[in-house]
């Protein structure tokens, strides 16, 4: 008994609350929103989203100014080995904060004038963000699973937030069933790994076998263990659901289409990026001894994911489904980067760089989409983008930059991301993966440029068809202009000059 007490004492002593101050701040902010809803008079409730956004902005600025080096905890385990703080984790924290900020801004556009409670959306988004930040730094399967489930449960609510729409409910149900299935699969994999690595009869076993370090030490001794291999495959399958890799991508088009635009953006960017942050940790720090099985497995996933995503997107006319399916293809390229990082250390930085460019490009596109589809479920077809550049040249320009970056066209940031992954893949000798990626990029030009074509190419004279489809074009607020303009400008600047970001990533 007393032994356990001493152990608890030691663990408690390692509870460095200072290390997770940003997450705590987000949690407090989320609760503050609920408190404000109770105490503010009804006509002041419009302030709450602003509080959410300004609060996050403060956290972000504070983080970049004082916490960029992880508050002095870099390279340390905290909370009894639950968390491990490294450079990638810090970049990902900023990444999730920025995406959450952008999602909140899009939500103020999309939710405006809808008969749904507003405050809860921001509350859940903040909680999900904090969980994502913890997920990216988790070093133990317990915390890993709990934060993953916090994210997933949050998304259940967000996906069917517009609950009066049948399409949103359908999307929510699909996401719920499939996410639950994938969680179950992953949990079973974790249990298998825990069981085998915790078996005291085996060499290298550990009493704390859910700890990534301990598990890795065990796997080094038993890389051929069948139970461990099955466990690994199941865990990877669970992560593959998050990143929407083939064959776990089946939920993507319907859920993306049904969810409201900010949620789709959140799923497409933050949820996918979290999956990759986790995958990088798992592949490099845990399952690395099982390389001989891991590499063929991931390679197969990558090839099928790239081909599926691009081919399925070719004939797509609905922009949300198109973003979903092309996002699958992006997951495929990122998987190539993850595989390369097993052989080429700097490839990890390339994956993170790609994620950053993907964030910039995707949010630029989703920002335009949020403006163009005031009623969710409408305004999402390519036909709705006809004459966009003529009537709203600003949105047209942002869309062209965003899509061009996603397509990987120089001089935009997305191209540099793809280039780094390609170079890494070549250095790692992954020629087949490289060939498939290039093929995929060429296919992607067709649908991305098809979208640009719909938005930008038009006759200057007003044709009868155009007069027939004339409609109201949305007004763009100056804050939206600022945000979308910044996203587009950052995409262009990162295409020419990568200095600050690559310096940061180079030190990872």
């Amino acid at each position: 008994m007393s032994d356990h007490l001493i152990e608890f004492k030691e663990i408690a002593a390692s509870n460095q609350w200072g290390a997770i101050l940003p997450e705590i701040a987000l949690g407090v902010l989320a609760l503050t929103l609920l408190v404000l809803e109770i105490f503010l008079p009804k006509n002041r409730h419009v302030l709450i989203p602003r509080v959410a956004i300004i609060g996050q902005l403060v956290v972000l600025v504070w983080f970049l100014a004082f916490f960029r080096a992880g508050g002095g905890y870099i390279g340390q385990e905290t909370f009894g080995g639950m968390l491990f703080h490294d450079g990638v984790g810090q970049v990902m924290r900023v990444f999730f904060l920025v995406s959450s900020l952008l999602v909140c801004h899009l939500a103020t556009i999309s939710l405006a004038g809808k008969q749904v409670p507003k405050v809860e959306f921001f509350h859940i988004a903040l909680v999900v963000t904090a969980a994502l930040m913890l997920l990216a730094q988790s070093n133990h399967f317990v915390l890993f699973f709990i934060s993953l489930e916090t994210v997933t449960v949050g998304f259940f609510v967000l996906v069917c937030y517009l609950r009066y729409q049948a399409i949103a409910l359908e999307a929510g149900l699909k996401y719920l069933v499939l996410a639950a299935l994938s969680s179950a699969v992953m949990l079973f994999g974790i249990a298998l790994l825990y069981g085998i690595a915790g078996n005291p009869l085996l060499e290298g076993s550990s009493s704390d076998s859910m700890n990534f370090g301990a598990l890795n030490a065990f796997l080094k001794n038993h890389p051929e263990s069948n139970i461990a291999i099955i466990g690994m495959i199941l865990v990877i399958a669970g992560v593959a659901f998050k990143i929407a890799a083939f064959p776990f991508q089946i939920w993507v088009p319907d859920v993306y289409q049904g969810a409201s635009t900010p949620v789709t953006a959140f799923l497409a960017v933050a949820s996918k990026a979290a999956g990759f942050a986790v995958l990088l940790t798992l592949v490099l720090k845990v399952f690395q001894p099982m390389e001989t099985i891991l590499v063929p497995l991931l390679s197969l996933l990558a090839i099928l994911t790239i081909l599926y995503g691009n081919i399925a997107a070719l004939t797509q006319r609905n922009t949300k489904r198109l973003m979903g399916l092309s996002g699958i293809a992006h997951a495929g390229y990122l998987l190539v980067g993850v595989i390369a990082s097993l052989y080429v250390p700097w490839a990890m930085g390339a994956v993170v760089f790609y994620l950053v460019t993907y964030l910039l490009g995707s949010f630029a596109v989703f920002g335009v989409m949020a403006h163009l589809s005031p009623e969710d479920g409408t305004g999402d077809e390519l036909e709705d983008y006809l004459d966009l550049a003529k009537n709203r040249p600003f949105l047209g320009g942002v869309l062209v930059v965003g899509l061009g970056s996603l397509a990987g066209i120089p001089p935009l940031a997305g191209f540099i991301g793809k280039l780094l992954i390609f170079i890494a893949a070549f250095q790692a000798g992954l020629y087949w993966l490289l060939a498939v990626s290039v093929f995929g990029v060429v296919l992607s030009i067709y649908y991305y440029f098809g979208w640009i074509k719909a938005a930008v190419f038009q006759y200057w004279q007003v044709s009868p068809e155009e007069a027939a489809r004339s409609r109201e074009w949305p007004e763009i607020s100056s804050i939206s202009r600022l945000i979308l303009g910044t996203l587009a400008a950052a995409t262009v600047v990162l295409g020419f000059f990568q200095g600050p970001l690559s310096d940061w990533l180079g030190r990872l």
């Binding site: 250095q427 600050p500 690559s502």
Partner: protein
Amino acid sequence: MAEISESLLQLSVFVPIIFGGILLLFGTSANVFARKLAFVGFLFPALVSLWLWFAFSPDPETGYAFLTEVPTGLGIVGISLKLGLNGISLPLFVLAGVAGFAAGFYALVSPAERLRQYLALLLFMHGGLMGIFASVDVFFFYFFHEIALIPTFLMIGIWGGRERHYAAMKMTIYLSLGALLSLVGLIALYVQSGATSFDIISLKNALEGQSIGSVAQRHTFALLLFGFGILVSLWPFHTWAALGYGAAPTSAAMLHAGVLKKFGLYGLIQIGAPLLPEGAASWMYLLALLALGNVIVIGFVTVAQRDLKQMIGFSSVMHMGYCFLGLACLSAVGVGGAVILMFAHGLTVALLFLLGNCIYQRTGTFDMREMGGLARKAPVLAAFFVTAMLASIGLPGPGLANFWGELTVFIGLWQYREWMVVPAVFGVVISAVYGLRAAGNIFFGEETDEFRKASKGKTIHDILWFERTPALVLLALLILVGLWPRSLTDGINETVAPMYGGGDVAIEAADATPGSAEGAASYGFAERLPTCCAPPGTEVRTAIKMDNHSHE
């Protein structure tokens, strides 16, 4: 002094791009300001390119002049913005500057709607073109190509003629495929060479130490050859070209056909063939056959065209065949000829697209069957067009640069495979057929009824000042190099001879004067080109006689 030239080189790339950005972001609807700004943006690189041509004196160690390096943050994979010029890139840099000015000047007065955006895209394209040929870093070479390519897509799609949507999509997908193949080839080259930097000089140094294995060379060169080949419309990957040019607005067609298309050839000449000699040697026979396909098959296709713009487009595809043939020789003579021909052809085809649009402005149609007798109303335009056509055919008559290019290519080809000279020269006959017939159809003979109908109520002006200025600029450079080829060939010699080692003659000469690369160069190549404007006929005879001599 030297530092000024280096900064000018950097500025010539970024001034158009920055001005384009300013036009896009801060322009108001006032076209006067936009025109003035754009004019400076177009003129500056042209003047810089001419100045650098004049000031060019390469560093004997690297072969480059005006080298500068700016890190951009991709040091981890050896990429930095390294600019400089050598003997191969200089002519094309000048071409990009001058053709860009001509195309830009013509665009300034074009009646395009949304002129500001149109000029901005054209400025991006101009900056990208300057960057392609100024880049020593292989990555930026590719990067600037794409900067120039994407505006083409938008310009065709937004301001283009008939079938523009289809043409824009087809061209983009085709060219993206080619560009990506060549990008993978370039990455393969970089990784296999073991160099720590993407720039050509360090790649070359790394490969001098240990060259790549011959199998890997063959595969890597295949990527480069087919990737770049698609971009240069190598037969049978040419189907995007005429379609795209047919739909493109005039200035875009001038710059794409005239300058941007040379990217692929330049890549093969500057990077592919010298760095992967074994790989290149194993593919050259196939390349020569495909290039003959360009000359003969596309030659006949061109003859069959009735649409003036399509005909010019196809003729540019056909003439790329000669450049490829020059490259296929893998000798200093052939490659040097290819570089001169690229330069001359770029000016010529830009001129032809310009004049083609001038004709269209007057006749209201591109269909040559509906034209006739235009020379009576526009004699100066007729003179310009006939001169440009003669240049394009490669006739020695008017002292134009194309002739020297084609002649040198033929000489190189004779050394390579004698029989190939026969179909290649037959190609000149084909060009003469369609070129002269086009000139005859449009300008001479009786006015047709269709023409009268189309031009009813309009007075037909002769060539106007804003058409004449760019045409004169292009023609002047063409004649300058035609009469004084040495202004270009000296630089080309110096760079090409050590890279390609010259043909048979050059090797003999090198034996005679051991250790002297210059001796080899001057004997192998420069002596074949006239150094002043002597009667061309005599030069031809001496050159060919020397060549026969070497084979006996």
